[in-house]
């Protein structure tokens, strides 16, 4: 590339200093060292626009409509508002590509993606964006189609963008973690791949996200960040290896275990005996994970594993932050029928959301507006005291159907008892 065309970047140059790896140095390598002149010019132009943003403290991208044949979403279109000054990056779209569940890659796969990306795009990529997509940042409208065609042939598909089912996310889970109580990858793929049509063709009131964590540590932030959170848990007793408990006491001291395990239990269900064994009141354990995190060798989840479902988490727009709410305290997820039931709940939820939410309203906001009970009745789920922190405080309510509801409760309890044998 002609050196005289290089945009000066005095402010960005400062970000090449310091010990943390610098993205600016990376962009400059693409500008100066890449064999393809198209990429050199694109990187130079991008650096120029970014420097302009740093100097004026403003962003200069606007959206638009770009997709690939057959889909309505999956691309974040970006057109520059200062394209005259920085023409080689005036179209700089991002392709959102769905990673393998659990974000596992071989190095060969990454190299193959790098080869395709430098053929058509800017050569800049992020693993991953906040929703969980591989973000291929920087392609022209034309190149977007070519790049997608090439990687789609060898197994990659676009994720969601806009008011649609979004790319899902799951934790490392059973692949490497002893706390896992679920088959995260299977849940992730069963859910999101049932709704592939809703991923590619945005037609919902707003976005809808699935996230799956294998245990209540919730490493993918599903309660806070997803409309449909699936979290592994167990309902029998946690497993205690008392000889490892004794080893732990020997290594760390009795005070450490009292201060950091026993007294930290949120439901006060643990005690340390005089013989340095742990006694656990499992009926009152809320599966918070703290003691298992501190003593992973001595304590493990039980064998009767399953999942808890929470619905409606989201960040601030428009009514404020909402956490997901429990709608299924526990369900087994062992058989094909169990998975079908999970997918059925998701389908009911999305259908109800599509029909009842206002434009740009998330599932949690819809539930806030119409009340949890109306939502539960809409998707055919019975009420359960695990869904609330405490029963209602306000006396302003009509309870005309009390007798029928109470009867239904006792009938359900009798059914559950009969089913348990």
């Amino acid at each position: 590339m002609d050196k005289s065309k290089i945009h000066p970047t005095p402010m960005l140059d400062v970000l090449e200093e310091g010990p943390w790896p610098s993205f600016i140095s990376g962009f400059k390598r693409m500008r100066d060292d890449h064999p393809d002149q198209r990429i050199n010019e694109m990187a130079n132009s991008l650096l120029g626009q970014l420097e302009h943003s740093y100097e004026t403290r403003k962003g200069y991208w606007k959206g638009g409509t770009v997709s690939v044949f057959g889909y309505g979403g999956g691309i974040i279109p970006r057109f520059s508002e200062v394209g005259k000054a920085f023409p080689e990056s005036k179209e700089f779209h991002t392709l959102r590509v769905q990673p393998p569940a659990g974000n596992y890659y071989t190095t060969d796969m990454l190299n193959q993606l790098a080869d395709s990306w430098e053929k058509y795009g800017s050569g800049m990529v992020t693993f991953h964006g906040q929703t969980g997509n591989i973000m291929f940042i920087g392609a022209t409208t034309d190149a977007t189609q070519h790049f997608f065609d090439e990687i789609n042939e060898y197994g990659w598909d676009l994720g969601g963008a806009g008011p649609c089912v979004r790319t899902a996310m799951c934790c490392v889970g059973s692949a490497r973690c002893e706390q896992s109580c679920a088959n995260e990858m299977a849940i992730h793929r069963h859910l999101v791949n049932t709704f592939t049509d809703d991923v590619h063709r945005p037609a919902l009131p707003y976005k809808f996200k699935f996230k799956v964590s294998g245990c209540p540590n919730d490493c993918v932030n599903s309660i806070e960040r997803s409309d449909f959170a699936v979290i592994g848990t167990w309902r029998d007793d946690m497993k205690v290896d008392q000889s490892e408990v004794k080893e732990f006491v020997k290594a760390k001291g009795r005070q450490y275990i009292i201060d950091n395990v026993i007294t930290r239990c949120p439901s006060n269900c643990m005690s340390l005996t005089d013989s340095d064994e742990l006694e656990i009141d499992n009926k009152n354990c809320v599966r918070c994970m703290h003691c298992l995190n501190v003593m992973p060798k001595a304590l493990s989840p039980g064998d009767d594993k399953g999942i808890t479902l929470l619905i409606g988490g989201k960040r601030t727009l428009k009514i404020g932050d909402l956490m997901g709410t429990v709608i299924v305290p526990f369900m087994k997820l062992d058989t094909a029928e169990d998975y079908e039931r999970l997918v059925e709940i998701a389908s009911e939820t999305i259908d109800f959301f599509a029909e009842n939410a206002l434009e740009h309203e998330r599932t949690g906001e819809m539930i806030e507006r119409i009340g949890l009970v109306n939502f539960l009745e809409g998707i055919g789920i019975d009420v359960d005291p695990n869904m609330v922190n405490h029963p209602r405080q306000s006396s302003y309510i009509r309870m005309d159907g009390w007798d029928e509801e109470a009867e239904a409760w006792f009938a359900r309890k009798a059914e559950e008892k009969a089913a348990a044998g």
Binding site: V14, R176, H290
Partner: protein, 360 residues
């Protein structure tokens, strides 16, 4: 007709690929059969399966936006020093998994020699999860990658070591939509002035009813301005949230001078000990000061210092503040408590102290 255009290629709707096939063989073999893990040194995890098999994970921080040279450097290290299998964490760190302990030290050396930073495990300050900012977003109030690079330069020792009472997850967001998410410490843009409206463009660019509907406080009304259909904002009602800007860019909310940074603490996604918590405002009015945002970093370091000195083992920032109380948090960090810290949004009453529980 020979010149008839070929029909466009239609996509193969394959959806999310199965990750199982791309896992390290030891992880495939022991799927769901892990017994425990330990933490031999910062940046390294050892997981032991019931079968006795071990998998060693080395975690490294990167610049997150990878150019293909950097990506190939990472894969080359994976081929040469690891077993060719990697994964990325949700905070965009790369993880290499190896079955053989003897590969760990050479792998760490190769990563560090190439400029990557090994760490981010256990009680460290993890990589800051962040957004796109000026580089790619259409509504950013600030940059993301630059803020994070500048901050991680200062916090690198806390990433490489495990000196904190528990892990610290940080996030940044370049508008109040907060795509960076909840964090133990979150650094987010806060707009401080109502949008300036470009009335010439509104009728061409915006669907006015949806802009009106987007406002959380009903401060926007349709109006005729200079004979053209436009919008007007009740500036007394406006909370400067910026929600009108995405559907209607002529509602200019970003302001080079008046868009500031604010810092929030105590967001915690985990159910460990307490229930998950949202982050709370602690500092605002911080200048949006590229290229290094030193004022924001200084406050983050102040908070980290107080947390490190005063929190007990295993306390996340929210646990620590719950134990010592908010008055002491402000005392220990030296941050001012103002009328703006008292919430007035819906449900705000639940955040007021309706008791005599007061620490003296």
């Amino acid at each position: 007709m020979s010149d008839k255009k070929a029909p466009p290629r239609m996509p193969i709707e394959s959806g999310c690929p199965d990750g199982f096939q791309y896992m390290h063989p030891v992880m495939r073999k022991n799927y769901g059969q892990w017994k425990y893990h330990d933490h031999p040194r910062p940046g390294v995890l050892r997981h032991v399966a019931h079968s006795g098999d071990e998998i060693w994970t080395v975690k490294a921080g990167t610049q997150r936006i990878l150019d293909v040279f950097t990506l190939r450097k990472l894969t080359e290290i994976g081929d040469k020093f690891a077993d060719g299998y990697v994964r990325f964490t949700i905070r965009s760190n790369i993880e290499y998994m190896v079955a053989d302990k003897s590969k760990v030290e050479p792998l760490i050396k190769a990563l560090e020699d190439a400029g990557f930073v090994v760490g981010g495990t256990a009680n460290s300050v993890a990589m800051i999860s962040h957004t796109q900012g000026w580089l790619h977003c259409d509504i950013p109030g600030t940059d993301a990658s630059g803020v994070v690079k500048a901050m991680m330069d200062e916090l690198i020792d806390e990433f490489k070591n495990c000196n904190m009472p528990n892990r610290v997850h940080m996030t940044t967001s370049c508008c109040q939509i907060n795509c960076g998410g909840q964090g133990d410490i979150a650094i987010n843009v806060q707009h401080t002035k109502p949008p300036k409206i470009n009335h010439d463009l509104v009728s061409n660019v915006c669907e006015r009813p949806s802009v009106v509907a987007r406002c959380p406080v009903a401060a926007i009304r349709p109006a005729q301005v200079n004979g053209k259909p436009s919008l007007e904002v009740d500036e007394k009602k406006c909370i400067c949230c910026g929600a009108c800007f995405p559907p209607c860019p002529p509602m200019q909310i970003n302001d080079p001078e008046h868009s500031k940074l604010a810092i929030w603490v105590g967001g915690n996604h985990s159910n460990a000990r307490g229930k998950p918590t949202f982050q709370k405002l602690v500092a605002a009015g911080i200048p949006n000061n590229p290229p290094r945002w030193p004022e924001a970093t200084a406050i983050v370091k102040q908070i980290l210092k107080a947390y490190r000195e005063d929190a007990r083992d295993w306390e996340r920032i929210n646990d620590w503040i719950e134990r010592i109380g908010w008055p002491r948090f402000f005392e220990k960090t030296g941050l001012p408590f103002t009328k703006y810290h008292i919430d007035n949004w819906r449900g705000a009453r639940n955040s007021l102290n309706a008791s005599t529980h007061i620490r003296f």
